[in-house]
């Protein structure tokens, strides 16, 4: 069975492309959310295996979404993503509890699998 995945990003164009890319890259995309609070709600409802989470969101940022998910009953693997570099966020990504970080331009099914694979091993 393919792992289920939720996309949280405020750009519809990016969500559509990511859905196609990851759908053909080994994941079953079960939902999309356009802001942080909708993302938290969708994750609790859909219980996906993986959440692809943009850091820059219009309401609460990705780190805050992550913190709320960790406090909640569901514990999906979270992959942070951003147009910016990981270095632009300093050590916040390391301390966030996410499985990993993928720059948006380098997103692919293989990249996500690699991150959650290494996250599990770590």
């Amino acid at each position: 069975m393919r792992p289920t995945l939720l996309i949280v990003d405020d750009h519809a164009g990016f969500r559509a492309l990511a859905r196609r890319l990851l759908g053909s890259g080994g994941f079953e995309v079960v939902g999309e959310a356009a802001d942080g609070r909708a993302g938290v709600a969708a994750a609790r409802e859909l219980r996906p295996d993986v959440v692809l989470l943009d850091i820059q969101l219009p309401d609460i940022d990705g780190f805050e979404v992550l913190a709320r998910l960790r406090d909640g009953p569901v514990g999906p693997a979270v992959v942070l993503t951003s147009t910016r570099d990981r270095a632009d966020y300093g050590e916040r990504v390391d301390h966030s509890g996410a499985s990993g970080f993928i720059p948006k331009a380098e997103l692919s099914g293989a990249a996500v699998l690699a991150v959650i694979g290494s996250g599990r091993m770590g």
Binding site: D88, G90, A105
Partner: protein
Amino acid sequence: MRGLRLALALLALAAGLVNLALIVRAGDAPPRSHIYLVIVIVGVSWSFVAAGLVAWRRRPDNHTGALMVAVGLAYALPGLRLVQTPLGFTLYLLVATLPSAVLAHLLAVFPDGRATTRLQRVFIVANYATTVPLAFVQLLLVDPARLRCPECPNDLLGTGGQHPYGDAVMVVSDLWDVVLAGLLLWIVVSRWRRAPAARRRGLAPVVQVAVVLLVLFSVRQALRAVLSPPPLWLDGALDLAVLTTLMLWPLAFLAGLARSRLDRSAVGDLAIELEQAPSPDRLQQALARALHDPTVQLAYWLPDQQAFVDEAARPVELPPAGGGRSVTFLRHDGDTVAALIHDAALDDEPELVQAVAATARLTIENQRLQAEVRAQLEEVRASRARIVQFGDAERRRVERNLHDGAQQRLVNLSLALGIARSQVPATADGELAAALDEAARELRLALAELRELARGIHPVILSEAGLGPALASLAERSPIPATVAAAPGGRLPARVEETAYYVASEALANAAKHAHATAVSISARRCDGGLVVEVGDDGVGGADPNGSGLRGLADRVAALDGHLRVDSPTGRGTRITAELPCGS
């Protein structure tokens, strides 16, 4: 006016001389004590007239001077008692109470020259209305022997002394005098207590003498009422004491005037003090001393703002007219330079205020210019800080626009290319796959360049994670090895973080571009509520602090009221230090 004053002076002189002539003519006939008294009375008369004329000339619009002359002339009248005839003695009895009545009037209104309270008005009316008619009553009812004049001739009516109520009238009259004197004492003392500090100085001698006088007078009248009559020696001695004190009163008045004159000579001290270019605080204190008014306030006129300000460029409201505070404007070539706000009591001494103002004008003008410059500097400083803040906000906005716009589109393009690439069957012509791979590579480079550009415009990490991580990231990306020796934990005000970051970033860029350095060390430490950023390299040194990069950095630091130091001896590396106050 001058003619009138001259005439009055001559009249007083003549009256005094007549009194003295009467003494000579009388020879040994009247009691010796009367002769002494008349001599003292002539002294009182002349001293009041002389001091009154001085006061009159000084302030023609104030009635005090005229009133003092009136007191002086009135005191020439009791000499009539030396005319050893029934007519002379009768006239003496009729006017005997007039001098003290006019004197009481003077003391009640001094120094304003008119009654200012209800109590004063009531007192003046009651004083004249009772004491002057009392003379007639005494003339009609009282034995001349009871009037402290056993050897005096009989009066014209010749009825005095026979009346059974004569003694009672005298006792009531003396007691009434005590009551009036008590009221007057109250009026004098409360006027003194209400007087502002600036006026008390001139009033002090006059008030002191008046208090002594009124106490002595009350004692004399009380003894007369109680002992009726007291022994002649005692009464005569008290009489002499009262009159001698009275003679001192005009002298005390002149002493008060002399004090004001001395004050004006104290302007010389002010001039010496001003030689040392005092601070605005010291100037104000010196003015307060010279004017004997601790409440003096100096306000400088700022033509730019059309407003008065204090030495710290804060606006100053001028007091409204008639509120106990007065304003003297200082002008230069017809332009207002400053305003002296002082106690209204100083309006009595315009010469003093003008002398002080003229002496201090240059210093005040100087201070005014400084206040003006300070106000302008404050304005420039605020606008410079606003410009920097606006610039920073604008850079944040541009970076965000890049991130949300062009970068996002290029990212989407990259993903679309990835999808396209994955659709190319492995069996297909290799050229399509190669072209797509080439496009993806170019796109990655474009995205990397765009990210670098955005970071140069505004480092997101600074607002996201703070100065420490931002400096670490800066060091990581530096083309020459750089270490962060110290960085403050936690967050600082955004403008401090941004300025500190730009200092480090510009210094790193210089080290790489111009200094040919091989190692750079960055440190940022909290210090005395501020932040000290230091960047040192091991390059060739000789950096020009006035080069455009460092000059711009110095301006940025100065916009936060900080200091930038560039220490760059040739051949021994460069050290750039920025001290940034965290301020409010």
